[in-house]
């Protein structure tokens, strides 16, 4: 175990969490990510028993999930596993596939509503050129958010994960927080 102490993408010791009316935004510093890509002509594996999802979709068994990122490509995520070598675990599950460690490439913000899907959709309308009506639970997409590239996962009606580039974490938080705060008015 290393004696170095990590910091979060927002530069603090602990993940940031803030509530804005019906919305809570929390930095998910424990989320491990690894990309999975099929080799040319390779078969689609079922890592950790997951059925890898189709275009613009996400699946999850509660602890481990996956979302589609391209043809024959997925991002596999594991809650609370950022301190493990998750890429190695995934590679062991899918030895024929190409796996790249991505945990530190991204920052994940989990947006949770206490009042159903409407606040989530209101927030989306301020930030994302995505029709919330076509983006229900289980949908995932890569899109632009204030000139930044992000993955969106609608984990449920009330939960939206916004996964952006780690180095842009501060700007992404700013965008989310400002929009959420304005919805409070």
């Amino acid at each position: 175990m290393t004696d170095l102490t990590p910091i979060t993408a927002l530069g603090a010791a602990a993940p940031r969490v803030e509530t804005f009316g019906a919305l809570q935004i929390e930095e998910n510093a424990g989320l491990a990510l690894a990309s999975l890509a099929l080799r040319k002509g390779g078969n689609t594996p079922a890592p950790f028993g997951l059925t890898l999802p189709d275009v613009a979709s996400a699946v999850s068994n509660g602890e481990i999930g996956a979302f589609w990122t391209g043809r024959g490509q997925w991002m596999v995520e594991a809650a609370g596993k950022s301190e493990t070598d998750f890429a190695a675990l995934l590679k062991a599950e899918a030895p024929e596939c190409i796996v790249t460690e991505q945990t530190d490439g991204f920052v994940a913000f989990e947006v949770v509503s206490t009042q159903g899907g409407a606040p989530i959709e209101a927030l989306m309308s301020k930030l994302l050129n995505i029709d919330p009506k076509t983006f229900g639970a289980g949908q995932a997409v890569r899109t632009g958010l204030e000139h930044m590239t992000v993955f969106l996962i609608r984990r449920s009606d009330e939960k939206l994960a916004v996964i952006g580039m780690r180095t842009l974490a501060g700007s992404l938080w700013h965008a989310l927080a400002v929009a959420a705060r304005r919805l409070e008015d």
Binding site: T2, L4, K40, Q102, K126, R166, T167, L168, S171, R182
Partner: protein, 981 residues
């Protein structure tokens, strides 16, 4: 007070406001214009060029005259139309474009010199002397021809943006828009109903005609309530849809809090990008006037606007209650105004109708076959001259309504080069074919302006729009309504010798149109630019067609033959603040922070923007007086001890697959596939045209796993290009790419003591030169088990490494390196020192790889492998490219204290400095504390064989010419021993 009874104002909610410092009172529901009129104020501003006194002319966003500065302090906003400024408690407004008080404008003298200010006068008058234009003429003209003043203070308010999606966007909430929204809303479609007004109803709020035998507001309120109850309908008042863009995207500005004194916690405005599958344009119509002599006096306004003021705002358009009002019309619509005025108890002189057979529609006098041929009243209308059969009589009036017919608001239909077509029966342009796809004009915007017709047309349009989406909408029960008669004659202007205004805001008269004709500026595009007609902030909404008609008469052509006026976005002015999207200053665009950013901040680093990145530029220490002092110290620390620099910003692309080596052989100019596992190679990428594109290193981490690094600037572009080649050019290769730039914090550990420092961090890893030589790479663990990658590469020319750890550990790693290296002189260095170090070593960077240079020029021509094909390889050997004789050299000024500016051009001594004698240019330059002289890099003709020659570096922009010696580009350790030891 000239307030009437009734109207859609809330008399229980009085609002106090000031205009030009005087206090007034209006009511909730008023606009600034209606409240001023109700207070008997007719004079609201001065005209643009002649400084003529002007009053309100319209009751909507087409207003050319009542342009004011709204609010004060930082919120002061010039060029605001009083007709759409919603009244609020504490509103302050000032008229603009006058020197001295509004009623005694000193610049009104311009009006006396009007003959000199005719169309095109700028182009004819201010020709000589040339130097006077910028310093004298232009400032004078700008001062005289004002458009209000900016506060010059930063905008204190917040602005927002957002995205909306719908099945049907309905633009305009008048008779047609409401019926369209209700039809589609009931059918279950997702509907957005937007209107620039704060009240729904459009002209229904301004006319007196009943619906279902009741006040039209009853129906409007019922529809509003039903639409509000439908979850699938979003009503957006105070929202102007200003433009149509590709793929069904509409730009709209919602004025969230423009109707409040200050926005408080709210944003001021929101820019909405609405993606609509179908759209109904129910934007209504704009009334036009009839130019006649001196038709611009306060008190003269559009007859439809006059109707709106009395019906909706209960404001008589006169200064005093007993002032008579006259109407000048070419059709039946003017008579409606007379009827409404009479119903409201106003004193009506009569209706002057250009038609000889005109009849009264009520108990008022009709001057049939008559025209208005003159007016009097310096600051407000006092008299009009009515001419009939050659006989003229003067009549005392306090206001005159002018009704010249209605122009459908076709603006948005022409945003995709849709051209309106002339409808002779309506005497108006109506939307033609070929406008934006999915946009269906309805109601008055389509030339179907009668109330009953408009409602039915809105319903029809909604049904048609939904049917395009495969949705079925049923007809709705529409209220009983009548279509008022729109009968009119083609009467466009009253001929005469005096000035008759066509475009009020830009002071363009019928005479100016005639002059344009005389000077052969007859095409409508030339007419517009020569006279500036339609080029004011109102975009000529009330003037374009009238001008076209006058020109048609002069050219003896029909109006459609003369030209068609089309419109560009925005429909009305949009503030730059809202277009900016909200964030300003450092938050204007996203910033990428390196993993050690917070650490560097704590050290007091100065930062520099490098694309989206914020990078530490240098780390000043107490007592250092200049940045150069700091940078020199950092450079020398690297050369003598060990320096630390965050190099995370360099792009990192993970390349894996059985064909990864082959793929890289094709994208890199040099051979990569032969690289041994555990080794790194410098690589060059070329553009398709053979020029240098990017350079970096490629590390082979495993048999089928490479990590490519790119320059910071090209990280995204190189990755994108690699994906393009992967997906589109060589899809048969088994290779996968993914960016890992952000995933790894990478720190350069450079200097003779770098090995010693790293030895203190690695877990059981042999760093000896034998075990881990120059250009080696490896996975390893450090600091008790942290996964890391180590690369022995050097940008500085010293013994150096780059160590990468998961990004969240970058901060801690930097702290640990500083701590463990304290006794070794570990020094953080920024991008400035990084640049000095690489210039001293003669390493290329962005300045040398500027898109015009080749591998040969860098002295790396042999790296473009002839044993394989790669992107750009063949093109790099084409005639002209291969023969380029310029080579990268070092330059040392003869006087070491003189800096050779980058960008200087190189010449042989004693030659003229011309394009023909140009021998190259300086790419990079710095002070080298190692050489103790300024040094530079540059490309010089045959530079590799001119060592020791004294040449001239000329910087003609600054008038500097320096002598410099041509030397090796490697100012430090040209043999490369240091980085290999």
């Amino acid at each position: 007070m000239t307030r009437l009874t009734g109207g859609l104002i809330d008399r229980t909610k009085p609002l106090n406001f000031t205009f030009n410092g005087a206090s007034y009172q209006g009511f909730e529901g008023d606009t600034l214009a209606s409240a001023l009129l109700a207070n008997g104020v007719q004079l609201m501003g001065r005209s643009f060029k002649y400084h003529r006194p002007r009053g309100v002319f319209s009751a909507g966003s087409e207003e050319p005259n009542a342009i004011v500065e709204l609010r004060s302090g930082a919120r002061q906003e010039p060029n605001t139309r009083a007709t759409v400024a919603e009244l609020f408690e504490g509103l302050t407004a000032n008229s603009q474009n006058h020197v001295g008080p509004l009623h005694r404008d000193l610049l009104a003298v311009n009006d006396m010199f009007a003959p000199f200010f005719a169309a095109g006068f700028y182009y004819k008058t201010f020709m000589w002397p040339r130097a006077f234009w910028e310093k004298i003429y232009e400032p004078l003209i700008r001062n005289a021809a004002g458009l209000g003043k900016l506060s010059m203070l930063p905008d204190p308010d917040d602005y927002d943006k957002g995205f909306l999606h719908c099945d049907l966007l309905v633009i305009g909430a008048g008779a047609a828009g409401l019926s369209a929204a209700l039809t589609a809303g009931r059918a279950g479609a997702n509907v957005i109903l937007a209107d620039e007004d704060f009240a729904l109803g459009g002209r229904l709020t301004m006319e007196s005609d009943p619906l279902d035998g009741e006040d039209a507001q009853v129906w409007v309120a019922k529809v509003k309530a039903e639409l509000e109850s439908l979850a699938n309908v979003r009503i957006m008042p105070r929202t102007t849809v200003f433009g149509v863009y590709d793929h069904g995207i509409y730009g709209a500005v919602e004025r969230v809090s423009d109707h409040l004194l200050t926005p408080g916690d709210k944003v001021r405005q929101t820019l909405w990008r609405i993606t609509a599958k179908q759209t109904v344009l129910a934007a209504g119509a704009t009334e036009r006037h009839i130019p006649f002599a001196d038709n611009d006096r306060p008190g003269i306004m559009l007859a439809g606007a006059m109707r709106a003021y009395v019906n909706r705002w209960a404001a008589a358009p006169v200064k005093a209650d007993n002032d008579a009002i006259a109407i000048f019309t070419n059709g039946d619509d003017g008579h409606r105004t007379a009827l409404d005025l009479i119903a409201k108890g106003a004193k009506v002189l009569g209706v002057i109708d250009s038609r000889a057979d005109a009849k009264a529609l009520g108990s008022y006098e009709v001057f049939a076959g008559a025209t208005v041929t003159g007016t009097k009243g310096r600051l407000g209308l006092k008299e009009i001259e009515i001419t009939r059969g050659g006989k003229s009589t003067w009549h005392s009036v306090g206001a005159l309504g002018v009704a010249g017919g209605w122009n459908p608001n076709v603006h948005l239909t022409s945003h995709h080069r849709g051209r309106p077509v002339w409808d002779e029966s309506l005497l108006a342009f109506v939307p033609g074919q070929g406008g934006p796809k999915g946009l269906i004009p309805a109601g008055a915007a389509a030339g179907k302006g009668g109330t009953a017709t408009a409602m039915a047309d809105g319903m029809r349009a909604a049904i048609a729009a939904l049917s395009e989406l495969g949705m079925t909408a049923n007809e709705i029960a529409l209220p009983d309504a009548v279509d008022a008669s729109q009968a009119q004659a083609a009467f466009w202007h009253v001929p005469g010798k005096k000035r008759a205004w066509v475009d009020f805001q830009n002071d363009v008269t019928v005479k100016d149109v005639k002059l344009a004709h005389q000077e052969n500026m007859t095409p409508v595009e030339h007419l517009k630019r020569w006279t500036t007609l339609g080029m004011a902030t109102d975009q000529g909404k009330t003037s374009n067609i009238s001008a076209l008609a006058v020109m048609a008469e002069l050219t003896q052509k029909s109006i459609p033959e003369t030209g068609t006026t089309i419109f560009r976005p925005p429909y009305t002015g949009v503030s730059l603040s809202v277009l900016g999207g909200g964030d300003t200053g450092p938050l204007f665009r996203p910033s990428r922070l390196t993993p050690t950013h917070h650490w560097a901040e704590a050290q007091g680093a100065e930062f520099v923007e490098v694309g989206p990145w914020m990078r530490a530029q240098y780390f000043p220490k107490a007592g250092e007086k200049t940045w150069r002092e700091t940078v020199d110290r950092e450079v020398l620390a690297v050369r003598s001890g060990v320096g630390l620099c965050d190099v995370t910003t360099l792009g990192k692309v993970d390349v894996q697959g059985a064909d990864a080596g082959e793929f890289l052989n094709r994208v890199y100019a040099n051979m990569i596939g032969t690289l041994k596992v555990g080794m790194v190679r410098y690589g060059l990428m070329l553009r398709e045209d053979g020029h240098l594109y990017d350079d970096g290193t490629c590390a082979r981490m495993a048999e089928d796993h490479y990590v490519v690094t790119t320059t910071t600037a090209n990280a995204g572009a190189v990755y994108r290009n690699m994906e393009f080649y992967h997906q589109c050019v060589w899809p048969e290769l088994d290779v996968q790419l993914i960016s890992t730039t952000d995933a790894w914090a990478q720190i350069a550990v450079a200097g003779p003591k770098s090995r010693e420092l790293l030895t203190r961090l690695v877990d059981d890893f042999d760093l000896s030169n034998e075990a881990f030589p120059f250009m080696a790479c490896s996975d390893l663990t450090i600091c008790g088990g942290l996964r890391a990658r180590l690369f022995r590469i050097s940008f500085s020319g010293e013994l150096a490494y780059e160590i990468a750890v998961p990004a969240r550990y970058g901060h801690a790693l930097m702290e640990r390196l500083m701590e463990k290296g304290a006794d070794l002189g570990a020094t953080p260095y920024g991008t400035e020192a990084l640049a000095v170090l690489r210039i001293e070593k003669g390493h290329a960077a962005g300045a040398e790889l500027n898109g015009q240079t080749t591998a040969q020029m860098l002295g790396l021509g042999k790296m473009v492998s002839a044993k394989k094909d790669s992107v750009g390889a063949i093109m790099s050997r084409r005639e002209g490219m291969g023969q380029d004789a310029r080579r990268l050299v070092g330059l040392k000024p003869v006087d070491p204290t003189k800096q050779i500016m980058a960008g200087s051009h190189l010449f042989t001594e004693a030659t003229a400095h011309t394009m023909e004698t140009d021998q190259g240019w300086v790419t990079s330059s710095c002070y080298s504390p190692h050489v103790e002289s300024y040094i530079a890099l540059g490309y010089l003709e045959n530079g590799d064989s001119r060592m020791g020659e004294i040449i001239v570096a000329a910087n003609p922009l600054e008038g500097i010419t320096l002598k410099a010696e041509v030397v090796s580009a490697h100012f430090v350790d040209p043999e490369g021993g240091r980085l290999r030891d």
